[in-house]
Symmetry: C2
């Protein structure tokens, strides 16, 4: 194996690790999937629909916001409400998310024996 392909391998390996680093944990891809496929959600809606406890959800959303994958919009209603949306940049992850959805569905079919 020559130097060039060594470098190429390195890039591939670190590319995967970089992606895993951004979307690490049990919940980030699920949250993104919901926001991408179903649009803007309030904090409470997200919590109910995803089954994530508020503390965790809050933390995950902050990390996603840091990586510019979700945007946060505070609405000045009587009791304050907050809306979360996926950003255009998050759309670039759709490919990954869709592939995982398809694989998960197929895998379950395989496990339960069709």
């Amino acid at each position: 194996m020559n130097d060039k392909s060594d470098v190429a391998c390195q890039n591939v390996h670190s590319a995967i690790q970089d992606t895993l680093y951004v979307v690490n944990g049990k919940w980030k891809l699920l949250i993104l999937s919901i926001l991408i496929n179903e649009g803007t959600k309030r904090f409470g809606e997200l919590a109910r629909e995803s089954g994530i406890s508020p503390r965790i959800l809050s933390k995950e959303l902050q990390e996603l916001e840091l990586n510019q994958l979700v945007s946060r919009q505070v609405c000045p209603t009587k009791p304050i409400t907050v809306e979360y949306s996926s950003t255009p940049y998050a759309g670039t992850l759709k490919e990954v998310i869709d592939a995982m959805i398809r694989w998960g569905q197929n895998h379950k079919r395989k496990i339960v024996g069709r």
Copy 2:
């Protein structure tokens, strides 16, 4: 939202969670990517190339083998050697892995400012 789309959403959510469950952790997708793209590797080669310590690598490989994503082949050489390969079924994850590689490369380009 009607019953049918509720169910559809549920399926999508659990499909993602199912996939995350199978390929959880920092290393499984990297290991699979190496085996898929570069073919069969010995235990030691995998350890060196991935930078994973033996204890972790061994555990990850066992879990992958349980899920039929890698196969293990013992070679009766003088000091025994063991070869790991990705199974045909692991090929169905290629879509996911490739999408993550592409995203990671693109993301790094974005982070470093091109």
